[in-house]
Subunit: 326 residues, 2 copies
Protein backbone atom coordinates (compact mmCIF):
# COMPACT_ATOMS: atom_id res chain seq x y z
CA UNK A 1 0.00 0.00 0.00
CA UNK A 2 2.82 2.33 0.90
CA UNK A 3 4.54 1.53 -2.41
CA UNK A 4 1.36 2.24 -4.30
CA UNK A 5 1.09 5.62 -2.63
CA UNK A 6 4.63 6.53 -3.62
CA UNK A 7 3.95 5.43 -7.18
CA UNK A 8 0.70 7.42 -7.26
CA UNK A 9 2.47 10.53 -6.03
CA UNK A 10 5.20 10.08 -8.62
CA UNK A 11 2.57 9.81 -11.35
CA UNK A 12 0.76 12.88 -10.11
CA UNK A 13 4.00 14.84 -10.00
CA UNK A 14 4.89 13.76 -13.53
CA UNK A 15 1.44 14.72 -14.78
CA UNK A 16 1.66 18.10 -13.07
CA UNK A 17 5.06 18.73 -14.69
CA UNK A 18 3.78 17.72 -18.11
CA UNK A 19 0.92 20.20 -17.89
CA UNK A 20 2.75 22.98 -16.02
CA UNK A 21 3.22 26.18 -18.00
CA UNK A 22 6.94 26.33 -18.82
CA UNK A 23 6.69 30.09 -19.40
CA UNK A 24 4.50 31.41 -16.55
CA UNK A 25 5.80 35.00 -16.86
CA UNK A 26 4.77 35.19 -20.52
CA UNK A 27 1.25 36.43 -21.19
CA UNK A 28 -0.81 34.38 -23.61
CA UNK A 29 -0.18 35.68 -27.11
CA UNK A 30 1.52 35.14 -30.41
CA UNK A 31 5.12 35.08 -29.11
CA UNK A 32 4.45 32.52 -26.40
CA UNK A 33 2.28 30.35 -28.65
CA UNK A 34 4.91 30.30 -31.37
CA UNK A 35 7.78 29.48 -28.98
CA UNK A 36 5.92 26.51 -27.51
CA UNK A 37 4.81 25.28 -30.94
CA UNK A 38 8.39 25.50 -32.23
CA UNK A 39 9.85 23.61 -29.28
CA UNK A 40 7.16 20.94 -29.60
CA UNK A 41 7.87 20.59 -33.33
CA UNK A 42 11.59 19.87 -32.90
CA UNK A 43 11.30 17.68 -29.79
CA UNK A 44 8.31 15.48 -30.59
CA UNK A 45 9.77 12.28 -32.11
CA UNK A 46 6.67 11.96 -34.29
CA UNK A 47 7.05 15.46 -35.72
CA UNK A 48 8.41 15.85 -39.28
CA UNK A 49 10.64 18.63 -37.87
CA UNK A 50 12.10 16.49 -35.06
CA UNK A 51 15.80 17.18 -34.39
CA UNK A 52 18.39 15.34 -32.32
CA UNK A 53 19.29 17.13 -29.07
CA UNK A 54 22.77 17.81 -30.53
CA UNK A 55 21.17 20.01 -33.19
CA UNK A 56 19.07 21.94 -30.66
CA UNK A 57 21.45 24.86 -30.35
CA UNK A 58 20.00 28.15 -29.09
CA UNK A 59 21.95 31.42 -28.98
CA UNK A 60 21.09 34.57 -27.05
CA UNK A 61 22.49 38.02 -26.95
CA UNK A 62 23.02 39.23 -23.36
CA UNK A 63 22.67 43.01 -22.93
CA UNK A 64 19.04 43.99 -23.53
CA UNK A 65 18.06 40.39 -24.28
CA UNK A 66 18.77 38.55 -21.01
CA UNK A 67 19.24 41.55 -18.72
CA UNK A 68 18.81 45.33 -18.95
CA UNK A 69 21.30 47.62 -20.67
CA UNK A 70 20.19 51.12 -19.62
CA UNK A 71 21.33 53.81 -19.00
CA UNK A 72 24.46 52.17 -20.49
CA UNK A 73 25.92 48.64 -20.70
CA UNK A 74 26.58 47.46 -17.13
CA UNK A 75 30.08 46.34 -18.09
CA UNK A 76 30.90 49.96 -18.91
CA UNK A 77 29.78 51.01 -15.42
CA UNK A 78 32.03 48.29 -14.00
CA UNK A 79 34.90 49.65 -16.09
CA UNK A 80 34.33 53.22 -14.87
CA UNK A 81 34.13 52.08 -11.24
CA UNK A 82 37.32 50.11 -11.72
CA UNK A 83 39.18 53.05 -13.24
CA UNK A 84 38.05 55.14 -10.26
CA UNK A 85 39.29 52.50 -7.80
CA UNK A 86 42.58 52.12 -9.69
CA UNK A 87 43.09 55.91 -9.78
CA UNK A 88 42.71 56.04 -5.98
CA UNK A 89 45.69 53.69 -5.72
CA UNK A 90 47.63 55.34 -8.53
CA UNK A 91 46.38 58.77 -9.70
CA UNK A 92 48.73 58.61 -12.71
CA UNK A 93 46.22 56.23 -14.33
CA UNK A 94 43.90 59.20 -15.05
CA UNK A 95 46.18 60.22 -17.90
CA UNK A 96 43.59 61.57 -20.36
CA UNK A 97 40.37 63.62 -20.16
CA UNK A 98 38.31 60.46 -20.64
CA UNK A 99 40.16 58.52 -17.95
CA UNK A 100 39.97 61.57 -15.67
CA UNK A 101 36.19 61.60 -16.09
CA UNK A 102 36.04 57.86 -15.37
CA UNK A 103 38.29 58.28 -12.32
CA UNK A 104 35.86 60.92 -11.03
CA UNK A 105 32.89 58.60 -11.61
CA UNK A 106 31.53 60.98 -14.25
CA UNK A 107 29.67 58.58 -16.56
CA UNK A 108 28.59 61.23 -19.07
CA UNK A 109 32.12 62.57 -19.31
CA UNK A 110 33.45 59.04 -19.70
CA UNK A 111 30.97 58.43 -22.52
CA UNK A 112 31.84 61.70 -24.27
CA UNK A 113 34.81 60.10 -26.05
CA UNK A 114 32.63 57.84 -28.15
CA UNK A 115 33.93 54.43 -29.19
CA UNK A 116 37.59 55.51 -28.87
CA UNK A 117 37.07 56.69 -25.30
CA UNK A 118 35.18 53.52 -24.47
CA UNK A 119 38.05 51.35 -25.71
CA UNK A 120 40.48 53.47 -23.69
CA UNK A 121 38.50 52.86 -20.51
CA UNK A 122 38.12 49.15 -21.28
CA UNK A 123 41.85 48.80 -22.02
CA UNK A 124 42.87 50.32 -18.68
CA UNK A 125 40.21 48.65 -16.56
CA UNK A 126 40.32 45.20 -18.17
CA UNK A 127 44.05 44.49 -18.36
CA UNK A 128 46.99 43.73 -16.11
CA UNK A 129 45.09 41.15 -14.08
CA UNK A 130 45.13 37.40 -14.51
CA UNK A 131 41.85 35.96 -15.73
CA UNK A 132 41.32 34.56 -12.23
CA UNK A 133 41.90 37.94 -10.58
CA UNK A 134 39.58 39.60 -13.09
CA UNK A 135 36.85 37.08 -12.33
CA UNK A 136 37.13 37.96 -8.62
CA UNK A 137 37.06 41.69 -9.42
CA UNK A 138 33.81 41.33 -11.41
CA UNK A 139 32.17 39.17 -8.76
CA UNK A 140 33.15 41.65 -6.00
CA UNK A 141 31.74 44.53 -8.03
CA UNK A 142 28.46 42.74 -8.80
CA UNK A 143 28.08 41.93 -5.11
CA UNK A 144 28.41 45.56 -3.99
CA UNK A 145 27.64 47.95 -6.88
CA UNK A 146 24.15 49.38 -7.36
CA UNK A 147 22.32 50.51 -10.50
CA UNK A 148 22.70 54.32 -10.82
CA UNK A 149 18.99 55.11 -11.09
CA UNK A 150 17.23 52.04 -9.71
CA UNK A 151 19.49 51.37 -6.72
CA UNK A 152 19.51 47.58 -7.00
CA UNK A 153 22.34 45.12 -7.69
CA UNK A 154 22.87 44.72 -11.44
CA UNK A 155 22.07 41.02 -11.47
CA UNK A 156 18.56 41.92 -10.27
CA UNK A 157 17.91 43.20 -13.80
CA UNK A 158 17.83 39.82 -15.53
CA UNK A 159 14.55 39.18 -17.32
CA UNK A 160 12.35 36.62 -15.59
CA UNK A 161 10.64 35.54 -18.87
CA UNK A 162 14.04 34.91 -20.47
CA UNK A 163 15.22 32.88 -17.47
CA UNK A 164 12.12 30.75 -18.01
CA UNK A 165 12.80 30.48 -21.73
CA UNK A 166 16.43 29.40 -21.16
CA UNK A 167 15.32 26.80 -18.66
CA UNK A 168 12.46 25.58 -20.84
CA UNK A 169 14.79 25.12 -23.81
CA UNK A 170 17.37 23.26 -21.70
CA UNK A 171 14.64 21.06 -20.20
CA UNK A 172 13.73 20.22 -23.79
CA UNK A 173 17.26 19.14 -24.69
CA UNK A 174 18.57 22.42 -26.10
CA UNK A 175 22.01 23.81 -25.35
CA UNK A 176 21.73 27.52 -24.57
CA UNK A 177 24.66 29.76 -25.50
CA UNK A 178 25.20 33.43 -24.78
CA UNK A 179 26.62 35.27 -27.80
CA UNK A 180 27.33 38.79 -26.61
CA UNK A 181 29.21 41.89 -27.65
CA UNK A 182 30.20 42.12 -23.99
CA UNK A 183 33.49 40.79 -22.69
CA UNK A 184 33.65 37.04 -22.26
CA UNK A 185 35.37 37.15 -18.86
CA UNK A 186 32.90 39.72 -17.56
CA UNK A 187 29.86 37.65 -18.56
CA UNK A 188 31.28 34.36 -17.32
CA UNK A 189 31.67 35.85 -13.84
CA UNK A 190 27.87 35.84 -13.39
CA UNK A 191 26.34 33.76 -16.22
CA UNK A 192 26.38 30.50 -14.30
CA UNK A 193 24.66 31.95 -11.22
CA UNK A 194 22.31 34.25 -13.10
CA UNK A 195 21.35 32.11 -16.11
CA UNK A 196 22.71 28.61 -15.40
CA UNK A 197 24.90 29.07 -18.48
CA UNK A 198 28.34 27.52 -17.83
CA UNK A 199 31.58 29.22 -18.98
CA UNK A 200 32.01 27.03 -22.08
CA UNK A 201 28.61 28.21 -23.34
CA UNK A 202 29.50 31.90 -23.13
CA UNK A 203 30.76 33.52 -26.33
CA UNK A 204 31.73 37.20 -26.21
CA UNK A 205 34.20 39.83 -27.22
CA UNK A 206 37.72 38.93 -26.16
CA UNK A 207 40.84 40.86 -25.35
CA UNK A 208 44.30 39.56 -26.07
CA UNK A 209 45.71 37.41 -23.27
CA UNK A 210 49.18 36.07 -22.55
CA UNK A 211 50.29 32.82 -21.01
CA UNK A 212 53.11 33.40 -18.53
CA UNK A 213 54.93 31.56 -15.79
CA UNK A 214 55.09 33.95 -12.82
CA UNK A 215 57.29 32.78 -9.95
CA UNK A 216 56.89 29.21 -11.14
CA UNK A 217 53.11 29.47 -11.45
CA UNK A 218 51.41 29.45 -14.86
CA UNK A 219 48.95 32.31 -15.32
CA UNK A 220 46.88 33.84 -18.13
CA UNK A 221 47.08 37.63 -18.08
CA UNK A 222 44.61 40.02 -19.69
CA UNK A 223 46.28 42.47 -22.10
CA UNK A 224 44.94 45.87 -23.23
CA UNK A 225 44.42 45.03 -26.93
CA UNK A 226 41.09 43.80 -28.30
CA UNK A 227 41.35 40.43 -30.08
CA UNK A 228 37.79 39.99 -31.36
CA UNK A 229 34.57 42.00 -31.21
CA UNK A 230 31.60 39.70 -31.05
CA UNK A 231 29.03 42.03 -32.57
CA UNK A 232 27.10 42.27 -35.84
CA UNK A 233 28.78 40.03 -38.49
CA UNK A 234 31.22 38.93 -35.75
CA UNK A 235 28.42 36.97 -34.08
CA UNK A 236 27.89 34.32 -36.78
CA UNK A 237 31.68 34.18 -37.22
CA UNK A 238 32.16 33.49 -33.49
CA UNK A 239 29.30 30.97 -33.46
CA UNK A 240 31.01 29.08 -36.27
CA UNK A 241 34.39 29.20 -34.53
CA UNK A 242 33.25 28.15 -31.10
CA UNK A 243 30.17 26.00 -31.64
CA UNK A 244 30.75 24.79 -35.19
CA UNK A 245 27.03 24.16 -35.62
CA UNK A 246 24.37 26.44 -37.00
CA UNK A 247 21.88 27.36 -34.26
CA UNK A 248 18.17 26.74 -34.76
CA UNK A 249 17.03 29.38 -32.24
CA UNK A 250 18.38 32.90 -31.82
CA UNK A 251 17.25 35.69 -29.51
CA UNK A 252 18.44 39.29 -29.65
CA UNK A 253 17.23 42.83 -29.17
CA UNK A 254 19.28 45.13 -31.39
CA UNK A 255 20.87 45.64 -34.79
CA UNK A 256 24.00 44.02 -33.32
CA UNK A 257 22.05 40.78 -33.44
CA UNK A 258 20.85 41.11 -37.04
CA UNK A 259 23.48 38.84 -38.62
CA UNK A 260 23.15 36.22 -35.87
CA UNK A 261 19.40 36.14 -36.52
CA UNK A 262 19.96 35.94 -40.29
CA UNK A 263 22.51 33.13 -39.93
CA UNK A 264 20.30 31.17 -37.54
CA UNK A 265 17.03 31.48 -39.40
CA UNK A 266 18.47 31.40 -42.94
CA UNK A 267 19.14 27.66 -42.80
CA UNK A 268 16.90 24.80 -43.90
CA UNK A 269 14.44 23.16 -41.55
CA UNK A 270 12.77 24.55 -38.44
CA UNK A 271 14.23 27.86 -37.22
CA UNK A 272 13.20 30.46 -34.66
CA UNK A 273 14.21 34.11 -34.44
CA UNK A 274 13.17 36.22 -31.46
CA UNK A 275 13.56 39.95 -30.87
CA UNK A 276 12.99 41.51 -27.46
CA UNK A 277 11.38 44.89 -28.15
CA UNK A 278 11.84 47.34 -25.26
CA UNK A 279 8.36 48.86 -25.01
CA UNK A 280 7.91 49.14 -21.26
CA UNK A 281 8.92 52.54 -19.88
CA UNK A 282 7.22 51.80 -16.57
CA UNK A 283 8.79 48.48 -15.59
CA UNK A 284 11.98 48.75 -17.67
CA UNK A 285 12.84 51.20 -20.48
CA UNK A 286 11.21 51.99 -23.82
CA UNK A 287 13.60 52.48 -26.74
CA UNK A 288 14.35 51.21 -30.23
CA UNK A 289 15.29 53.05 -33.42
CA UNK A 290 16.87 56.15 -31.86
CA UNK A 291 18.57 54.68 -28.83
CA UNK A 292 22.32 55.20 -28.32
CA UNK A 293 22.39 51.80 -26.58
CA UNK A 294 20.82 48.73 -28.13
CA UNK A 295 19.51 50.47 -31.23
CA UNK A 296 16.83 48.34 -32.87
CA UNK A 297 16.17 49.58 -36.38
CA UNK A 298 17.31 47.36 -39.26
CA UNK A 299 16.59 44.18 -37.31
CA UNK A 300 13.07 45.42 -36.54
CA UNK A 301 12.49 46.12 -40.22
CA UNK A 302 13.81 42.65 -41.08
CA UNK A 303 11.63 40.85 -38.54
CA UNK A 304 8.40 40.61 -40.53
CA UNK A 305 9.98 39.35 -43.75
CA UNK A 306 11.97 36.73 -41.85
CA UNK A 307 9.14 35.63 -39.60
CA UNK A 308 10.97 36.56 -36.39
CA UNK A 309 8.81 36.84 -33.29
CA UNK A 310 8.94 40.38 -31.93
CA UNK A 311 8.33 40.26 -28.18
CA UNK A 312 6.48 43.32 -26.94
CA UNK A 313 7.91 43.57 -23.45
CA UNK A 314 4.98 45.60 -22.13
CA UNK A 315 2.24 43.32 -23.37
CA UNK A 316 3.94 39.92 -23.70
CA UNK A 317 5.65 39.82 -20.31
CA UNK A 318 3.56 39.47 -17.16
CA UNK A 319 6.72 40.02 -15.13
CA UNK A 320 9.93 41.70 -16.33
CA UNK A 321 12.39 41.32 -13.44
CA UNK A 322 12.40 38.59 -10.78
CA UNK A 323 12.18 41.14 -7.96
CA UNK A 324 8.61 41.98 -9.04
CA UNK A 325 7.69 38.53 -7.72
CA UNK A 326 9.07 39.24 -4.23
Amino acid sequence: MKKLTVAAFAMLAATATAFADPLPSWNPGDAKTRIVAFVDSVTDPDSPDYLDPAARVAVFDNDGTLWSEQPVYFQFLFAVDRVAAMAKEDPAIASSPILKAAAAGDIEGALAGGKKGLLEIIAVSHSGLTVTEFDVAVRDWLATARHPTKGRPYTDFVYQPMLELLRYLRDEGFTTYIVSGGGIHFIRAFAEDAYRVPPEQVIGSVGETSFEIRDGTPVIVKDPAIAFIDDKAGKPVAIDRVIGRRPIFAGGNSDGDLQMLQWTTGGAGPRFGLIVHHTDAAREWAYDRDSHIGRLDKALDAAAGNGWAVVDMKNDWRVVHPFELE
Copy 2:
Protein backbone atom coordinates in the same frame (compact mmCIF):
# COMPACT_ATOMS: atom_id res chain seq x y z
CA MET B 1 10.85 -16.33 -12.09
CA LYS B 2 11.22 -14.67 -15.46
CA LYS B 3 11.58 -11.29 -13.76
CA LEU B 4 14.24 -12.65 -11.44
CA THR B 5 16.20 -13.94 -14.42
CA VAL B 6 16.09 -10.54 -16.11
CA ALA B 7 17.23 -8.91 -12.87
CA ALA B 8 20.03 -11.46 -12.47
CA PHE B 9 21.23 -10.85 -16.01
CA ALA B 10 21.14 -7.10 -15.44
CA MET B 11 23.25 -7.55 -12.30
CA LEU B 12 25.73 -9.76 -14.09
CA ALA B 13 26.03 -7.29 -16.93
CA ALA B 14 26.59 -4.44 -14.47
CA THR B 15 29.23 -6.45 -12.64
CA ALA B 16 30.97 -7.32 -15.89
CA THR B 17 31.01 -3.66 -16.88
CA ALA B 18 32.39 -2.63 -13.49
CA PHE B 19 35.26 -5.07 -13.79
CA ALA B 20 35.89 -4.74 -17.53
CA ASP B 21 39.24 -3.20 -18.42
CA PRO B 22 38.45 0.27 -19.77
CA LEU B 23 41.84 0.41 -21.53
CA PRO B 24 42.31 -3.04 -23.11
CA SER B 25 44.90 -1.82 -25.65
CA TRP B 26 47.16 -0.49 -22.91
CA ASN B 27 49.71 -2.94 -21.52
CA PRO B 28 49.94 -3.16 -17.75
CA GLY B 29 52.45 -0.58 -16.55
CA ASP B 30 53.01 2.76 -14.90
CA ALA B 31 51.08 4.89 -17.43
CA LYS B 32 47.93 2.75 -17.36
CA THR B 33 48.03 2.34 -13.57
CA ARG B 34 48.36 6.07 -13.04
CA ILE B 35 45.57 6.97 -15.47
CA VAL B 36 43.11 4.62 -13.78
CA ALA B 37 44.16 5.75 -10.29
CA PHE B 38 43.71 9.39 -11.31
CA VAL B 39 40.27 8.83 -12.80
CA ASP B 40 39.20 6.87 -9.71
CA SER B 41 40.46 9.65 -7.44
CA VAL B 42 38.39 12.40 -9.06
CA THR B 43 35.23 10.33 -9.65
CA ASP B 44 34.87 8.40 -6.37
CA PRO B 45 32.51 10.49 -4.20
CA ASP B 46 34.39 9.28 -1.10
CA SER B 47 37.77 10.43 -2.45
CA PRO B 48 39.29 13.63 -1.03
CA ASP B 49 40.10 14.58 -4.64
CA TYR B 50 36.52 14.10 -5.91
CA LEU B 51 35.46 16.66 -8.50
CA ASP B 52 32.08 17.55 -10.00
CA PRO B 53 31.65 16.34 -13.59
CA ALA B 54 31.67 20.00 -14.72
CA ALA B 55 35.28 20.29 -13.54
CA ARG B 56 36.35 17.09 -15.32
CA VAL B 57 37.74 18.81 -18.39
CA ALA B 58 40.29 16.88 -20.47
CA VAL B 59 42.19 18.39 -23.41
CA PHE B 60 44.08 16.54 -26.13
CA ASP B 61 46.34 17.59 -28.91
CA ASN B 62 45.42 15.88 -32.20
CA ASP B 63 48.39 15.32 -34.56
CA GLY B 64 50.72 12.77 -32.99
CA THR B 65 48.50 12.44 -29.92
CA LEU B 66 45.21 11.08 -31.28
CA TRP B 67 46.37 10.10 -34.76
CA SER B 68 49.67 9.87 -36.66
CA GLU B 69 51.48 12.89 -38.09
CA GLN B 70 54.18 11.35 -40.31
CA PRO B 71 55.65 11.90 -42.82
CA VAL B 72 53.95 15.30 -42.40
CA TYR B 73 50.70 16.60 -40.88
CA PHE B 74 47.82 15.04 -42.81
CA GLN B 75 46.15 18.42 -43.19
CA PHE B 76 49.17 19.56 -45.21
CA LEU B 77 48.73 16.59 -47.54
CA PHE B 78 45.08 17.58 -47.94
CA ALA B 79 46.19 21.14 -48.76
CA VAL B 80 48.66 19.93 -51.40
CA ASP B 81 46.07 17.63 -52.97
CA ARG B 82 43.61 20.51 -52.99
CA VAL B 83 46.05 22.90 -54.66
CA ALA B 84 46.70 20.21 -57.29
CA ALA B 85 42.97 19.77 -57.91
CA MET B 86 42.43 23.54 -58.04
CA ALA B 87 45.33 23.98 -60.48
CA LYS B 88 43.74 21.44 -62.82
CA GLU B 89 40.67 23.70 -63.02
CA ASP B 90 42.66 26.93 -63.10
CA PRO B 91 46.43 26.61 -63.79
CA ALA B 92 46.91 30.28 -62.84
CA ILE B 93 46.68 29.19 -59.19
CA ALA B 94 50.21 27.75 -59.38
CA SER B 95 51.58 31.28 -59.21
CA SER B 96 54.78 30.64 -57.18
CA PRO B 97 57.44 27.92 -57.01
CA ILE B 98 55.86 26.55 -53.83
CA LEU B 99 52.37 26.46 -55.31
CA LYS B 100 53.81 24.96 -58.51
CA ALA B 101 55.35 22.15 -56.44
CA ALA B 102 52.05 21.62 -54.62
CA ALA B 103 50.15 21.61 -57.92
CA ALA B 104 52.51 18.87 -59.16
CA GLY B 105 51.93 16.85 -55.98
CA ASP B 106 55.58 17.31 -55.02
CA ILE B 107 55.41 17.17 -51.21
CA GLU B 108 59.11 17.80 -50.64
CA GLY B 109 59.09 20.77 -52.96
CA ALA B 110 55.96 22.08 -51.27
CA LEU B 111 57.68 21.76 -47.89
CA ALA B 112 60.85 23.49 -49.08
CA GLY B 113 59.36 26.94 -48.44
CA GLY B 114 59.32 26.42 -44.68
CA LYS B 115 56.62 28.10 -42.61
CA LYS B 116 56.08 30.85 -45.18
CA GLY B 117 55.48 28.32 -47.96
CA LEU B 118 53.20 26.31 -45.74
CA LEU B 119 51.06 29.36 -45.01
CA GLU B 120 50.94 30.12 -48.74
CA ILE B 121 49.62 26.65 -49.49
CA ILE B 122 47.13 26.80 -46.62
CA ALA B 123 45.91 30.25 -47.72
CA VAL B 124 45.18 29.09 -51.27
CA SER B 125 43.75 25.69 -50.39
CA HIS B 126 41.70 26.72 -47.36
CA SER B 127 39.93 29.85 -48.61
CA GLY B 128 37.20 30.90 -51.01
CA LEU B 129 34.80 28.17 -49.90
CA THR B 130 31.98 28.48 -47.42
CA VAL B 131 32.56 26.55 -44.21
CA THR B 132 29.93 24.06 -45.38
CA GLU B 133 31.67 23.55 -48.75
CA PHE B 134 35.02 23.16 -46.99
CA ASP B 135 33.57 20.52 -44.69
CA VAL B 136 32.40 18.55 -47.73
CA ALA B 137 35.83 18.93 -49.40
CA VAL B 138 37.62 17.50 -46.35
CA ARG B 139 35.16 14.61 -46.02
CA ASP B 140 35.51 13.78 -49.72
CA TRP B 141 39.29 13.82 -49.44
CA LEU B 142 39.36 11.65 -46.32
CA ALA B 143 37.06 9.14 -48.04
CA THR B 144 39.34 8.74 -51.06
CA ALA B 145 42.94 9.81 -50.24
CA ARG B 146 45.53 7.27 -49.11
CA HIS B 147 48.58 7.67 -46.88
CA PRO B 148 51.67 8.15 -49.10
CA THR B 149 53.74 5.32 -47.61
CA LYS B 150 51.20 3.08 -45.85
CA GLY B 151 48.45 3.14 -48.46
CA ARG B 152 45.52 3.33 -46.06
CA PRO B 153 42.89 6.04 -45.50
CA TYR B 154 44.18 8.68 -43.11
CA THR B 155 41.50 8.08 -40.50
CA ASP B 156 42.86 4.53 -40.14
CA PHE B 157 45.81 6.09 -38.30
CA VAL B 158 43.94 7.06 -35.14
CA TYR B 159 45.42 5.48 -32.02
CA GLN B 160 43.30 2.70 -30.57
CA PRO B 161 44.60 3.26 -27.00
CA MET B 162 43.69 6.95 -27.20
CA LEU B 163 40.19 6.12 -28.51
CA GLU B 164 39.82 3.95 -25.41
CA LEU B 165 41.16 6.72 -23.17
CA LEU B 166 38.74 9.30 -24.63
CA ARG B 167 35.82 6.94 -24.19
CA TYR B 168 36.89 5.94 -20.68
CA LEU B 169 37.14 9.57 -19.60
CA ARG B 170 33.72 10.40 -21.09
CA ASP B 171 32.19 7.32 -19.45
CA GLU B 172 33.54 8.72 -16.18
CA GLY B 173 31.89 12.10 -16.66
CA PHE B 174 34.72 13.98 -18.32
CA THR B 175 34.29 16.30 -21.28
CA THR B 176 37.01 15.61 -23.84
CA TYR B 177 38.24 18.51 -25.97
CA ILE B 178 40.65 18.50 -28.87
CA VAL B 179 43.10 21.44 -28.70
CA SER B 180 45.12 21.29 -31.89
CA GLY B 181 47.46 23.40 -33.95
CA GLY B 182 45.56 22.03 -36.93
CA GLY B 183 42.71 23.92 -38.55
CA ILE B 184 39.42 23.80 -36.69
CA HIS B 185 37.27 23.18 -39.79
CA PHE B 186 39.58 20.40 -40.97
CA ILE B 187 39.45 18.56 -37.64
CA ARG B 188 35.71 18.98 -37.18
CA ALA B 189 35.12 17.22 -40.50
CA PHE B 190 36.21 13.89 -38.96
CA ALA B 191 36.42 14.34 -35.16
CA GLU B 192 32.87 13.25 -34.48
CA ASP B 193 33.15 10.04 -36.52
CA ALA B 194 36.74 9.25 -35.54
CA TYR B 195 36.78 10.26 -31.88
CA ARG B 196 33.16 10.96 -30.90
CA VAL B 197 34.22 14.54 -30.24
CA PRO B 198 31.47 16.93 -31.38
CA PRO B 199 32.26 20.22 -33.19
CA GLU B 200 31.83 22.41 -30.11
CA GLN B 201 34.57 20.41 -28.36
CA VAL B 202 37.13 21.00 -31.10
CA ILE B 203 39.55 23.91 -30.59
CA GLY B 204 42.11 24.59 -33.30
CA SER B 205 43.85 27.18 -35.39
CA VAL B 206 41.39 29.39 -37.23
CA GLY B 207 41.47 31.42 -40.40
CA GLU B 208 39.55 34.63 -40.82
CA THR B 209 35.99 34.11 -42.03
CA SER B 210 33.35 36.48 -43.36
CA PHE B 211 29.62 36.48 -42.96
CA GLU B 212 27.92 37.28 -46.26
CA ILE B 213 24.49 37.13 -47.83
CA ARG B 214 24.93 35.49 -51.24
CA ASP B 215 21.84 35.58 -53.46
CA GLY B 216 19.69 35.97 -50.37
CA THR B 217 21.34 33.10 -48.53
CA PRO B 218 23.55 33.75 -45.49
CA VAL B 219 26.95 32.03 -45.71
CA ILE B 220 30.23 32.01 -43.80
CA VAL B 221 33.20 32.14 -46.17
CA LYS B 222 36.76 31.09 -45.36
CA ASP B 223 39.31 33.88 -46.06
CA PRO B 224 43.06 33.45 -46.70
CA ALA B 225 44.34 35.22 -43.54
CA ILE B 226 45.17 33.35 -40.35
CA ALA B 227 43.21 34.62 -37.32
CA PHE B 228 44.71 32.52 -34.52
CA ILE B 229 47.38 29.83 -34.28
CA ASP B 230 46.48 27.34 -31.59
CA ASP B 231 49.98 26.18 -30.76
CA LYS B 232 52.43 26.56 -27.86
CA ALA B 233 51.31 29.49 -25.62
CA GLY B 234 48.26 29.83 -27.89
CA LYS B 235 46.84 26.58 -26.50
CA PRO B 236 46.19 27.76 -22.92
CA VAL B 237 44.97 31.08 -24.35
CA ALA B 238 42.45 29.26 -26.59
CA ILE B 239 41.40 26.96 -23.76
CA ASP B 240 40.63 30.01 -21.64
CA ARG B 241 38.73 31.69 -24.46
CA VAL B 242 36.64 28.76 -25.51
CA ILE B 243 36.23 26.60 -22.41
CA GLY B 244 36.77 29.17 -19.67
CA ARG B 245 37.74 26.43 -17.23
CA ARG B 246 41.18 25.10 -16.42
CA PRO B 247 41.47 21.47 -17.55
CA ILE B 248 42.50 18.78 -15.09
CA PHE B 249 43.83 16.36 -17.73
CA ALA B 250 46.00 17.18 -20.74
CA GLY B 251 47.52 14.90 -23.35
CA GLY B 252 50.09 15.91 -25.95
CA ASN B 253 53.13 14.65 -27.80
CA SER B 254 55.33 17.60 -28.70
CA ASP B 255 56.81 20.89 -27.56
CA GLY B 256 53.73 22.56 -29.05
CA ASP B 257 51.83 21.07 -26.11
CA LEU B 258 54.25 22.24 -23.40
CA GLN B 259 52.26 25.29 -22.28
CA MET B 260 48.95 23.40 -22.36
CA LEU B 261 50.50 20.77 -20.09
CA GLN B 262 51.94 23.46 -17.81
CA TRP B 263 48.63 25.32 -17.59
CA THR B 264 46.67 22.13 -16.92
CA THR B 265 48.95 20.59 -14.33
CA GLY B 266 50.10 23.83 -12.68
CA GLY B 267 46.78 24.32 -10.88
CA ALA B 268 45.78 23.18 -7.39
CA GLY B 269 44.18 19.79 -6.76
CA PRO B 270 44.39 16.61 -8.82
CA ARG B 271 45.96 17.05 -12.27
CA PHE B 272 47.19 14.70 -14.98
CA GLY B 273 49.68 15.36 -17.75
CA LEU B 274 50.31 12.76 -20.44
CA ILE B 275 52.89 12.71 -23.23
CA VAL B 276 52.71 10.23 -26.10
CA HIS B 277 56.32 9.32 -26.90
CA HIS B 278 56.76 7.98 -30.42
CA THR B 279 59.07 5.02 -29.82
CA ASP B 280 57.65 2.45 -32.20
CA ALA B 281 59.36 2.42 -35.60
CA ALA B 282 57.78 -0.92 -36.48
CA ARG B 283 54.09 -0.21 -35.90
CA GLU B 284 54.20 3.59 -36.24
CA TRP B 285 57.21 5.94 -36.29
CA ALA B 286 60.02 6.62 -33.82
CA TYR B 287 60.99 10.26 -33.34
CA ASP B 288 61.37 12.92 -30.70
CA ARG B 289 64.08 15.57 -30.18
CA ASP B 290 65.26 15.92 -33.78
CA SER B 291 62.02 15.49 -35.68
CA HIS B 292 60.89 18.20 -38.10
CA ILE B 293 57.31 17.24 -37.26
CA GLY B 294 56.13 16.91 -33.68
CA ARG B 295 59.48 17.69 -32.07
CA LEU B 296 59.47 16.49 -28.47
CA ASP B 297 62.38 18.05 -26.62
CA LYS B 298 61.57 20.68 -23.97
CA ALA B 299 58.33 18.95 -23.01
CA LEU B 300 60.19 15.65 -22.57
CA ASP B 301 62.72 17.36 -20.31
CA ALA B 302 59.88 18.95 -18.34
CA ALA B 303 57.97 15.69 -17.87
CA ALA B 304 59.85 14.27 -14.89
CA GLY B 305 59.85 17.44 -12.81
CA ASN B 306 56.14 17.94 -13.45
CA GLY B 307 55.15 14.32 -12.90
CA TRP B 308 53.72 13.91 -16.39
CA ALA B 309 53.20 10.33 -17.54
CA VAL B 310 55.36 9.61 -20.59
CA VAL B 311 53.68 6.90 -22.65
CA ASP B 312 56.19 4.66 -24.37
CA MET B 313 54.22 3.75 -27.48
CA LYS B 314 56.25 0.60 -28.15
CA ASN B 315 55.95 -0.87 -24.68
CA ASP B 316 52.80 0.70 -23.25
CA TRP B 317 50.49 0.09 -26.22
CA ARG B 318 49.41 -3.46 -27.04
CA VAL B 319 47.78 -2.12 -30.20
CA VAL B 320 48.60 1.16 -31.94
CA HIS B 321 46.04 1.43 -34.77
CA PRO B 322 42.57 -0.11 -34.87
CA PHE B 323 43.36 -1.98 -38.11
CA GLU B 324 45.78 -4.21 -36.20
CA LEU B 325 42.69 -5.72 -34.56
CA GLU B 326 41.12 -6.67 -37.90
